[in-house]
């Protein structure tokens, strides 16, 4: 019965997360549509087009299992590859202005998948197909605001929350599909190299030596590289656990964006498709509301409102489509052109990944700041042994840096230890952090808590002492200091505590 009840509770929680929590703001989704179309036109499509396949003999065509073996061979003809490319570009231009958004989105998805399929048939696998499927997922909804469709009497419906949760689920599965092979191929084995090997492969073999690649591979970080191997697997695996909560998913996304920035800088690999996918889960509602009040937006909107639908559609097709095609063709012509050592084809993707990485890093810093503020708001009391000069010295130093917390010697306040369920022996063997909410905290965690309650940079040190791994080392360090506090600066014979009593703690 209890198990059934638990199952029902978990199911109810999941259904709440899936069917209610992912409410989508129409204007936020519109902003995503416009951003998606712009990035796809100017960055993704030019870098994932299949024009390069025209360089190779048809004998090299080996369609992968799935859709492509069903396609006629004429699909690989130069004119049809070119036509598909132009069709995707034109469709994206229409998606951007939101004209017949549903049909345009479906057309873009179909043509783009076929175009990528041509490249896949030459076994060049870019894993961008999921980005091409985004218009398919959002076709019926993302034209509900800031679009030409919104001018009509029957604008598109609002997006149901479950669809957003479904998109998050797909993203988590995608990331899991990257994590599992890593796990199985020995990324966590200390005798193998993974990040290290990719970095060398990129630098030595592929010639990706731009930006910070040279600096990164020369850093003396043997242990750091093994940690990066672990970090990459953990980060990718985290998605599937974070997907049940928007707050957690956004935290993981911020970490992933920062990770992609580091990869772009150190290995010159720009995961621009990932950044575009992550952007779907950014709360764009607030940003779009602010944008809607800006003079530039109001001016552009007034300008477009004065134009007929036909004029806006023709204008978008006449400007955006040629721009995208020009970028795609120029990437073939300018293949050897470099900027800061970065090949032409990587300029705009790296720019997008950098922008995403900066946003991710800012979000992480903001979350860290909030966590610190939250921790610092919790008031408490540091109880110390007044008979020990070393402890008294630390207490005096801490008292001058703490705002909300108080520092008390337990001998001067009879009954204080007992009030928190502690004994005099406890007081002599350790410092304690007590408050109204938690059980007394002793040992190295007292020091961490007191540091967190301080001003300046000390809270960072306090948080670091609580990180698993560091906390074990700090526990050992605390015990050593506690047992030998008479030998510490300021320590006297009165500080001496028998080892047995320390061990009792």
């Amino acid at each position: 019965m209890t198990a059934r009840l638990r199952l029902a509770t978990v199911r109810a929680h999941l259904e709440t997360q899936i069917f209610r929590a992912w409410a989508v703001d129409g204007r936020g989704l519109a902003l995503y549509r416009i951003s998606f179309a712009a990035v796809a036109l100017l960055v993704l499509l030019p870098s994932s087009e299949s024009l390069w396949t025209l360089e190779y003999p048809r004998a090299a065509i080996t369609p992968p299992p799935g859709l492509m073996p069903l396609m006629p061979e004429i699909l690989y003809s130069p004119w049809l590859v070119g036509a598909l490319h132009a069709l995707v570009a034109a469709g994206l231009a229409l998606v951007l202005v939101g004209w017949r958004t549903r049909e345009s989105s479906l057309g873009v998805a179909a043509a783009w998948v076929l175009l990528l399929g041509v490249g896949y048939s030459f076994n060049k696998i870019d894993h961008n197909v999921v980005v091409a499927l985004v218009p398919l997922l959002l076709a019926s909804y993302w034209g509900s605001a800031w679009s030409l469709d919104a001018r009509t009497e029957r604008p598109p419906a609002a997006m149901p929350p479950w669809l957003m949760a479904f998109a998050a689920w797909i993203l988590s599965l995608l990331m899991l599909s990257a994590a599992v092979p890593k796990l199985l191929s020995g990324w966590l084995d200390p005798t193998t190299g993974a990040v290290d090997a990719i970095m060398e492969q990129q630098f030595l073999v592929h010639g990706r030596d731009a930006l910070l690649a040279g600096v990164a591979r020369n850093l003396p970080w043997n242990v750091g590289l093994e940690l990066l191997d672990w970090g990459a697997v953990v980060l990718e695996g985290c998605f599937v656990f974070a997907v049940v909560s928007q707050y957690r998913l956004r935290f993981v996304l911020a970490a992933a964006l920062t990770f992609h920035l580091a990869v772009a800088m150190s290995m010159n690999i720009a995961f621009v498709g990932n950044v575009v996918l992550y952007a779907l889960f950014v709360p764009l509602g607030a940003l779009s509301a602010r944008l809607a009040r800006s003079p530039a937006f109001l001016g552009a909107r007034a300008y477009l409102n004065r134009r007929s639908t036909a004029t806006v559609v023709c204008g978008a097709l006449a400007t955006l489509t040629p721009c995208s095609l020009l970028l795609a063709y120029s990437s073939t012509w300018l293949v050897d052109t470099e900027l800061f050592g970065l090949p032409f084809s990587l300029w705009t993707p790296t720019l997008v990944v950098t922008a995403g990485g900066i946003v991710g890093a800012l979000v992480l810093l903001s979350r860290l700041r909030k966590a610190l503020m939250g921790l610092r708001r919790v008031s408490g009391t540091l109880l110390f042994d007044e008979d020990c000069a070393f402890c008294t010295r630390y207490a005096a130093w801490a008292a001058g840096r703490m705002r909300r917390a108080t520092v008390l010697g337990w001998q001067s306040h009879p009954g204080l230890l007992e009030q928190h369920g502690l004994t005099a022996n406890d007081g002599m063997t350790s410092s304690w952090w007590v408050d109204d909410h938690e059980s007394p905290i002793g040992g190295e965690r007292t020091i961490a808590r007191s540091l967190i309650a301080m001003t300046g940079i000390w809270p960072l040190l306090g948080l670091a002492l609580l990180v698993p791994g560091i906390s074990y080392a700090s526990a050992v360090g605390y015990r050593l200091i506690a047992e030998n506090r008479s030998l510490m600066p300021g320590g006297t014979a009165s500080c001496r505590v028998e080892s047995a009593r320390v061990a009792e703690r």
């Binding site: 030459f122 076994n123 191929s185 193998t192 060398e200 073999v205």
Partner: protein
């Protein structure tokens, strides 16, 4: 909820296909990379060179990646034609850039893995014509009498980026055959 479970099942099947056969298309999969044994201060790669003889019996040598010309990338199926690279254990299809630092440094070598059953592909008349045309272009339009691909296993010093060991592991004549 059923849709969520079905999608997870589909991704699982696609991943199994990728690892055991070949990646299907379209697939909801992300790229992954296999770990490799740590080598310390060196890094081992297998590279291929295009080596030819012109009408005057002068030996010519260039990176096999030069066959890619302006495309900038060499997809795996083309590597199978010219360098016989196989998919790695995760099913990832590699692409190579002619900008390779090693390629530039060694003036004529690129990465690839050997493939024994490649002869049939090279014998394809369209591929032979394509290889002849590309080889001629690669060597500035010179009349090429014979060409072959030679694989080297190179050990590169990570610090100096110099090749410290070079073993020829395979030679495949392209034409005449």
């Amino acid at each position: 909820m059923a849709l969520f479970i079905l999608t997870a099942g589909a991704v699982l099947v696609q991943d199994l296909l990728r690892r055991n056969v070949v990646e299907p298309f379209p697939a909801l999969l992300m790229p992954s990379f296999a770990a490799r044994p740590s080598e310390g201060e060196t890094y081992t790669v297998t590279v291929a060179t295009l080596e030819a003889t012109d009408g005057s019996n002068v030996a010519l040598r260039a990176p096999a990646t030069m066959l890619a010309r302006d495309a900038g990338v060499i997809p795996t199926s083309v590597l199978r034609l010219i360098a016989f690279e196989e998919l790695d254990s995760t099913g990832r299809a590699g692409t190579l850039s002619p900008r390779s630092a090693i390629v530039r440094r060694l003036a004529g070598q690129h990465v690839g893995r050997t493939r024994d059953d490649a002869a049939a592909v090279v014998d394809h008349p369209e591929v032979t014509r394509w290889l002849r045309a590309r080889t001629t272009e690669t060597f500035g339009g010179k009349r090429i009498r014979a060409a072959q691909l030679v694989w080297h296993k190179l050990m590169v010093d990570r610090n100096t980026e110099r090749v410290v060991a070079d073993d020829i592991i395979k030679t495949v004549p392209l034409f005449p055959r």
